[in-house]
Symmetry: C2
Subunit: 318 residues, 2 copies
């Protein structure tokens, strides 16, 4: 048995991943499995994974990064589009089942905390994580604290209407920002450009599996359709970031999420568009735009660190 | 000579108004004059008004609500579209000229403080003032503090692009929210509807002075063009408020500004549209939407109260 680790979970709609994480934010053991679609089975699956880790590690606390809405006290999972939990008191139930302190956190907030403690936001107190992946996630960090709003849901940029009568969104509305500025938007824009330009020669024309990632890779090879699609994403991201600056006025913006790995392809253009579109452009400081450092592990590492605080608090009370 | 009052100024592009204001937020004396267009003359005009008040009142401190960008410490007026000050250290200069503590504040923030202390937001700690007038102003209050952002400019909703290639805006961009959701937008929408519907009978057709206010009054008389214009404003306001809720997640929204007096005409519809368009609609609490209580005096009263704190601090140090 080594010194206590904390277990960090990243619970997504398809998979759940977990890691045994040290005080320095290092993952020393990890596992991944499909996420059960039944509410109770999801909880049992989490307990099973923690108990497996117990064979090799002394566990001080457990943290779960959740892709969904929590209450402001992080006790209840109100609603998660891709998870079976609805108004579930997940924190207390899991803590009772596991016998160690449990911490829940919204996945973007957990990732922001990870980047703040161990990644690209170290030393920054007022900044925004803008996570670009399947959709958009965002966190505002203020004086080293996660901004939660009155009901725990802020800040959500993905479903702001940016095009009246625009692309339909799974949320039921049309013209949401996510439909123009995300990995799935990149794919859709490429498909639309292919359909509108049938005589243009493109690697993507007969691609067996068109995704945001394949479009990004084709843009690196100067494919004309892919390049046009990436330019569209860069323009929308620039506008989205100008919205972040106008409304939240952060000192720094960190781009995270699955698309951040390819930042060199679109971020310089997006940053220029951001600076040109903010209120008072030319008469006010412009925040720096940087990229996340912990990749897909940021949420797991962040929530494990937040959970560690419970473990420390518990021991200080003794 | 009575007990000390504080002088609150509301400095706009056309006029400046000032009031002698008591600890309870009551205006016991007031004056208004044109705002000089020269930077030094503006300062001299302010000094002259304060000195006039000195004949009748004991003045403890002076506050100025400014329609422009300040630095986060409220020392410097960086840029104000309709004022002659640019990067001017207005607070220190005025304090030296007046011999009493001086406080600067952004006009929407000052109005929010006034409503928080004496008006429609009393008892609310996490809320947003959304001011609808010529343009849009907004303030986020958090645990009783004004949210400033890293550079003192947050939150600005007026120049978010909501219609690609939309109406041109004085800011140089196109499709800004203010161009669809403000008093000036109401006027423009009515003009466009009149042009597009030449055979519709409308009070507004030959109106000698078409403004947002005349359109609002015509809507109260069920004029078809005015009603359609107000409906458009209500729809855009609903979307704007859903943006406020998604991004800032306040516990309450207070509608202020010149258009708030006519809230009964558009706000019920706007509030419904807001609730239908927020993220997680149906799975999360919806903030109440209420209206400001201090009218056009909110900024003056608010900044006078903020200035009073300096006076109290000064006396406590003695």
């Amino acid at each position: 048995m080594s010194t206590p680790v904390t277990i960090g979970f990243d619970i997504g709609g398809t998979n759940m991943r977990a890691g045994a994480i040290t005080e320095a934010g290092n993952i020393i053991d990890s596992t991944a499995t499909e996420a059960p679609h039944d509410a109770d089975e999801l909880q049992e699956g989490i307990v099973r994974i923690v108990n497996k880790f117990r064979a090799d590690h002394c566990i001080g606390a457990v943290g779960l990064a959740i892709a969904g809405f929590l209450d402001p006290d992080c006790e209840i999972v109100r609603f998660a589009p891709h998870l079976p939990w609805r108004d579930r008191h997940a924190r207390a139930e899991l803590q009772a089942a596991l016998g160690v302190p449990v911490r829940l956190e919204h996945d973007a907030n957990a990732a922001a905390w990870g980047e703040y403690k161990f990644g690209g936001a170290q030393g920054h107190d007022n900044w925004v994580l803008f996570a670009l992946g399947t959709g958009i996630g965002a966190t505002l960090m203020q004086d080293g604290n996660i901004y939660r709003g009155a009901f725990g849901t802020a800040p959500e940029f993905g479903h702001i209407q940016v095009v009246p009568h625009g692309r339909p969104c799974a949320c039921g509305k049309r013209g949401c920002l996510e439909r123009y500025c995300s990995g799935t938007a990149l794919e859709q824009t490429a498909r639309e450009l292919l359909a509108d330009n049938p005589i243009t020669t493109s690697i993507l024309s007969d691609h067996p599996e068109l995704t945001g990632k394949t479009v990004m890779d084709a843009a690196r090879q100067s494919d004309p359709i892919a390049t046009a699609a990436v330019t569209s994403i860069a323009e929308w991201l620039g506008l989205a970031l100008s919205m972040v600056v106008d409304i939240l006025d952060p000192g720094m913006i960190l781009i995270g999420g699955g698309m951040s790995a390819d930042h060199d392809v679109y971020l310089p253009q997006a940053t220029e568009i951001m600076a040109a579109n903010i209120v008072g452009s030319g008469y006010r400081p412009v925040p720096t735009v940087s990229t996340a450092k912990l990749g897909g592990n940021a949420g797991m590492i962040g929530v494990a660190d937040l959970a560690r605080q419970l473990f420390i608090d518990k021991n200080q009370q003794k």
